[in-house]
Each structure stands twice: as structure tokens, then as C-alpha cells.
């Protein structure tokens, strides 16, 4: 007597669906390990198809580069550009071996001379319809596909001059999407899933840490200022800081839609944020880029020195990279949660 005859019909039906799902999950892995099926990615209005995982990639943009490193793909990176600060901790030695084409904008020829099979760009400002390095079409003409960070094309209008206007709020989902796309293109889906799961877990842990403070804390994110005492660039409602604050249940005292509007200290002082988050960066274009200059200003200006957040020293120093839509936005979530928790702001 076979085993089958003992199983009632209803039970057989109950087993059928999970069995099917399992097959569906296993099937693509089998297929990819055989390196047969081409990978197709929808990216920023373009469809990219890869017969094989690329062997050489040039990444224009620090966050794009760091995502590749995190996925263990450093040996495939044939060149990098647009560096805003030091590479992610722990990747210094790996990064030192990778040719850096330019600290800032690389030239079109320096990118293509690396013979990349893929170019990734963090910002359309560099590679996009009006990119200073080139347009995706220029690269396509040479048979090089361009992958654009979804964080810079979804919910963002880059038609005007400059660094674009965010039309919808930034969401970490866009960064997870980029990680997933890269993992699929390079056929390392398991590493991608693991990385995304880790980042999500960190996000959730930080959120839980200060979950009890709901709605009681407000903040302002100060990136820099064009002149030391002039109206500062602060975070509006749609950038990465807004996502950080929304995740943690912290209210942004700035209510404009622009990503980095200039708002007067008058408005900020009267809005009385519980916490001031000040950007720390290696860039030295404006005197206010320097975190010590920022702190000195806050403590010496006739008005800001009177703000309760300054008097009680509730100033959080945060790496400016965490204030931009990157994988490091998670660092920002953790750092701010830590600071709020430490200051015991619930009391």
C-alpha cells in the first residue's frame, strides 16, 4: 500500500500550495546558478538587460560605490568618483585598491576608458538627461548600460539646473531597491537579501529604542550655510532627514517641501526644536561646513545662544553622509535615537 492512499483529499489540497511556492522559490536560483536566464531591470525609465553579471563596473557616487562594497563586489569595481567623505569604515583597504577617477565629477572619457560593462550613478546631476559627466544615451551609444540610483530619479525632478527637486518624500525603500537591483544584476541575490534584512533590523531597533517618546521631540537638521551667519541650509520635509525623523516619530520644525531650503535663524529659534542636529563633514567649501564652527556659532550668536536646545547642549553631531539619501541614512537613525535616548527627552 502506498503512502498516498492514507492521505485524505482535503489534506492533499492543503499541502499543494506550499509545495508549489517552494518550487517557485527554488526555480530561479537553479536557473541563475546555471547562468542562463538574462536579468532584466527597470531603472529610471530605462530597461536594462544583462546576459551575464558584469565583470567591470564604474560607480559614480559614493553611496553607489559603498553598496557594491557591502555586497562583496569590490573586485568588480573598475573605478569610482564623486567622493563626499571617507569611505565606509572597514572598507579603507579595499577602497585603496580601486582606482579613483576623480574626487568630484569625472570626465566622460575617464569613465569609458575603464571599459566598464556597467556604470552606476548616484545622481542624475552627474549622469542623467543634463548630466555634467554625460547622458545615459552617450554611454548607451558605446554599449555601456547606466544604472541610476532610484533615490535620485523616483519622486525627484532633475529637469531644472542644479541638484534637483524632490517631488515626493524620500523612503529607505528606494535604497533597498538599489541594493536588490545590484544583487540581481551581479547574481548575488542572497547577499542582497541578507544586507537588506540587516539594515531593516537596525532601523527597527532604533525605532523601538525611543518608541516611548512619541511626538514629544522635535528637531532641526543643519547641513551648512553659505556664509557663517547667513540663513542656513536645513532639512525640509522630503529628504533623508525627514525620513529619519518620521521613522523615529520626531517632528521636523521645518515645514517646507524643498530638500534643503534656506531658512532664517529667526524661524528656527522661535520654532524651538528639542534637538539640533548639526552636519559633520570633510568638505570645506563654506566656513560653516566645519562642525566646530557650527558649534561656535550656535553658542555665540546673540539669538541662537538663547535657544533651550543650545543652552542644554542638545546638539547632535551627525555625519553629513547620513543626511543624504544613502545607505548611511540608517546611521543617522541610530545616532539620533541614541542621542534622544541619552538626553532622556521623555522626562
Amino acid at each position: 500500500m502506498s503512502l498516498n492512499s492514507f492521505i485524505p483529499v482535503a489534506a492533499a489540497r492543503r499541502f499543494a500550495l506550499p509545495l508549489l511556492l517552494t518550487t517557485a522559490l527554488i526555480a530561479p536560483q537553479l536557473a541563475s546558478s546555471a547562468a542562463a536566464a538574462p536579468v532584466t531591470i527597470e531603472n529610471c525609465g530605462r530597461t536594462l538587460t544583462f546576459e551575464h553579471p558584469p565583470e567591470r563596473v564604474v560607480s559614480v557616487g559614493q553611496s553607489s560605490t559603498e553598496i557594491l562594497y557591502l555586497l562583496g563586489l569590490a573586485d568588480k569595481v573598475a573605478g569610482t568618483a564623486v567622493w563626499l567623505g571617507p569611505v565606509l569604515k572597514g572598507y579603507e583597504a579595499i577602497n585603496a585598491k580601486v582606482p579613483r577617477l576623480a574626487d568630484n565629477d569625472p570626465s566622460f572619457e575617464s569613465v569609458v576608458s575603464r571599459k566598464p560593462q556597467l556604470v552606476t550613478t548616484q545622481f542624475e546631476w552627474q549622469i542623467g538627461p543634463k548630466g555634467v559627466v554625460g547622458t545615459p544615451q552617450q554611454f548607451a551609444d558605446l554599449g555601456i548600460p547606466v544604472y541610476t540610483s532610484p533615490a535620485d530619479c523616483q519622486g525627484k525632478d532633475n529637469a531644472g539646473a542644479g541638484d534637483g527637486l524632490r517631488t515626493a518624500a524620500f523612503d529607505m525603500g528606494l535604497i533597498y531597491r538599489e541594493i536588490d537591483d545590484m544583487a540581481r544584476i551581479f547574481d548575488v541575490k542572497d547577499r542582497g537579501d541578507k544586507l537588506i534584512a540587516e539594515l531593516k533590523a537596525r532601523e527597527e531597533a532604533a525605532r523601538k529604542k525611543i518608541a516611548g517618546y512619541g511626538g514629544k521631540v522635535s528637531a532641526v537638521f543643519w547641513f551648512s550655510s553659505s556664509q557663517m551667519k547667513a540663513d542656513p541650509y536645513v532639512a525640509g520635509r522630503r529628504g533623508a532627514p525627514a525620513y529619519i525623523m518620521a521613522t523615529l516619530g520626531i517632528r521636523n520644525v521645518i515645514e517646507t517641501d524643498e530638500e534643503w531650503p534656506t531658512i532664517g535663524w529667526e524661524t528656527i529659534a522661535r520654532a524651538n526644536p528639542t534637538v539640533i542636529v548639526a552636519g559633520k563633514m570633510d568638505r570645506r567649501r563654506y566656513p560653516a561646513d566645519d562642525i566646530t564652527a557650527k558649534l561656535a556659532f550656535l553658542k555665540s550668536d546673540p539669538v541662537t545662544s538663547l535657544m533651550p536646545a543650545v543652552k542644554a547642549d542638545r546638539i547632535v553631531e551627525l555625519d553629513a553622509q547620513a543626511m543624504n539619501p544613502t545607505i548611511r541614512t540608517i546611521d543617522g537613525i541610530e545616532a539620533l535615537a541614541e542621542a534622544v535616548d541619552k538626553a532622556r527627552l521623555s522626562e
Binding site: D105, G162, S226, D231, T262, R285, Y286, D290, P302, M307
Partner: protein, 341 residues
């Protein structure tokens, strides 16, 4: 002087003073956030006469250290630009002359951009001092060119155009070579004028600079009147032509350079305000220069107040405001003058 004339002058002076005080009061009362008039009045009473009040320290700080300092900076700037414009229009006998004709704005931009983008001075130089240095350098070049090109108003104008073009090209070169979008935006904001960084220490330099520069120009009012009929006529009237020309151009250049260093280049004030003033008080410089000074100050404060309140939650560059208001006024004057004649 007849009693009637004294009375008229006193009346004009009182009117000018009242307008200025009214403008500064508006600058103190209006801003990005709403502060009640009573708080504004109490703050001023406390700071000026030591009156005991219970206003919030932050509100008081905003009114006194931000808004009033800013209004006085705007006044100094408007005064300096308008007086410089009036002097240059007469001296060069060109109704289109304005202080930036001397290459000062272009030079200041180059100086500021070099500091901001190239990191010239290694952080020791501020944007203000970089701009001032650039302005003086550009003016020196224009002055040298004009001097080598020979006498006459046309050579100054042509030298100014050449110098401005050169320095504008240098600015574009620096920006295109090194700046990212973020920087370019910050620099653009500064180029269009920005009063938001004004604090009292700046005011204590800018206001005396504007007053001294204006006084020097007013002291040469009669000589300027004589220039209306050309340098030869002026010389025949006993005016030391060369000395007066050099003194006045230097006064205008120095005043403008200081202002551009503090707040960036703000267009239209130096061009338009003297024409408006001429409509009201005529062409005699004894009246025209003081009238330009007051009108420039009031116009600039008004433009600054508008720039803060016209778009909710956002501050427009003041240069945008002066051009938006100034250009239509200029158009009206043009049309009216034609009808009058």
C-alpha cells in the same frame, strides 16, 4: 538764505528722517515669523533707553540683533549704491551708469567665488574679505585701463565693460571647473545679494562707510553741477577737474566695494533711484545727492522686507526683489519723461 528756504529745507529734512525711521520700524516689525508690535516696541525701548520690560529674550534678540541690524545694513547699502549711481551718472554724463560699471560687482564675485570654491586663503579669508579684495582689484584694473585709454567719459565706460567681462569670465571659469550643484546654488544666492548674515559688527563698518562716502560726494555737489556742461565748462568755472573726478570715482568705488563685500551685488538700486530722485528734486546735486541717499536707503529696506514676506516660509534674494520692483519703476519714469517733453 531766506526764512522760506530754511523752512523748506528743514521740512524736507524732517520728512526724510521720518521716512527712514518708518522704514527701519517696518524692518523691525516684519520678518519670517510674526512678532507682535508690542514686543518690537518694548525691545527697542529696552535697548535704547534701558526700559525694564519682560519680553522673551529670543524675540528681543531677533528684533534687535537680526532685524534692526539688517534694516540698518540695508539702509547703508541703499544709500551708498544710490549716491554712487547719481555721482557716476553725472560724472560720466551717461544716464545708464551705475556703480557696478566700474567692475566692482564682477570683481567681488570672482573674489567671493575664489574663497568659496577654490578655498583661497585656506579658511582664514571670509567671503566678505574675498569679495572686497576682488572688487578693489577689478576696480584698480578698470581705473588703470581708463587712465591709459585717455580722458573722457567713454573711456571709463569701455574700460568698465572690459574689466567686468574679464572678471565675469574668471568667475564662470572657477564655478564651472570646481563647483558642484550644491556650491553653485550657494554662490548664486550670494551673488544676488544676501542680507541674512548681517549682525551689529558689520553695521558699525557699513553705516560709517556709507555716511562718509556720501558726505564726500555732497561736499563736491557744486563741482558736479558744473560737470553737467562738460569738463571744459567745469574747468572754466574753476573746478579742478582731474582732482574732483578721481576723488568722486574713488569715493563711489570704495563705498560700493564695502557694500558688495557685505551683502553681495544688488542690482538696480544704483541705476534707478537717482532717476526717481531727479524727478522729485531736480538735477542740482545739493538736493539730488541727499535725496538719492534717503530714497536709496528707504527703497532697499522696503525691498528687503518684501523679500522676507512675499513668499511664505521662504526668503527671496534681495537682488531679485530690487529688480522686480525697480524695473517697472524705471519703465514708468522712461514713459513719463517722454510725455513731459
Amino acid at each position: 538764505m531766506t526764512p522760506a528756504l530754511i523752512l523748506r529745507r528743514a521740512g524736507a529734512g524732517a520728512l526724510a528722517l521720518a521716512l527712514l525711521i518708518l522704514a527701519v520700524a517696518a524692518g523691525a516689525a516684519l520678518g519670517e515669523t510674526a512678532i507682535p508690535l508690542s514686543t518690537v516696541a518694548a525691545t527697542v525701548a529696552q535697548k535704547l533707553w534701558g526700559a525694564a520690560t519682560s519680553v522673551d529674550a529670543i524675540d528681543a534678540g531677533i528684533v534687535w540683533n537680526y532685524r534692526i541690524a539688517r534694516a540698518l545694513m540695508a539702509a547703508a547699502c541703499g544709500m551708498a549704491l544710490a549716491v554712487s549711481g547719481a555721482v557716476l551718472q553725472s560724472l560720466l554724463r551717461n544716464p545708464l551708469a551705475d556703480p557696478y560699471l566700474l567692475g566692482i560687482s564682477a570683481g567681488a564675485s570672482t573674489g567671493a567665488v575664489s574663497v568659496a570654491v577654490l578655498g583661497l586663503g585656506g579658511g582664514a579669508l571670509s567671503l566678505t574679505s574675498g569679495a572686497l579684495a576682488g572688487a578693489l582689484l577689478a576696480f584698480a584694473l578698470v581705473a588703470f585701463l581708463a587712465w591709459r585709454a585717455g580722458r573722457g567719459a567713454a573711456s571709463v565706460i569701455l574700460a568698465g565693460i572690459a574689466g567686468s567681462q574679464l572678471f565675469n569670465a574668471l568667475t564662470s571659469f572657477v564655478v564651472a571647473k570646481a563647483a558642484t550643484a550644491d556650491q553653485a546654488r550657494g554662490i548664486l544666492f550670494w551673488l544676488l545679494g544676501n542680507l541674512s548674515g548681517t549682525r551689529w559688527p558689520d553695521v558699525t563698518v557699513a553705516v560709517p562707510a556709507a555716511l562718509i562716502g556720501t558726505a564726500v560726494c555732497v561736499a563736491h555737489a557744486r563741482a558736479l553741477d558744473a560737470f553737467a556742461f562738460g569738463t571744459d565748462s567745469a574747468a572754466s568755472l574753476g573746478v579742478p577737474v582731474r582732482r574732483v573726478q578721481v576723488t568722486l570715482v574713488l569715493a563711489a568705488a570704495a563705498m560700493t566695494a564695502v557694500m558688495v563685500g557685505f551683502v553681495g551685488s544688488i542690482g538696480f538700486v544704483g541705476l534707478v533711484v537717482p532717476h526717481v530722485a531727479r524727478m522729485f528734486v531736480g538735477v542740482r546735486h545739493g538736493a539730488l545727492l541727499p535725496a538719492s541717499a534717503v530714497a536709496g536707503a528707504v527703497f532697499m529696506i522696503a525691498a528687503d522686507v518684501l523679500s522676507r514676506v512675499v513668499v511664505q516660509g521662504q526668503v527671496l534674494p534681495i537682488g531679485v526683489m530690487t529688480a522686480l520692483v525697480g524695473a517697472p519703476i524705471f519703465a514708468v519714469i522712461l514713459v513719463h519723461r517722454r510725455i513731459d517733453r
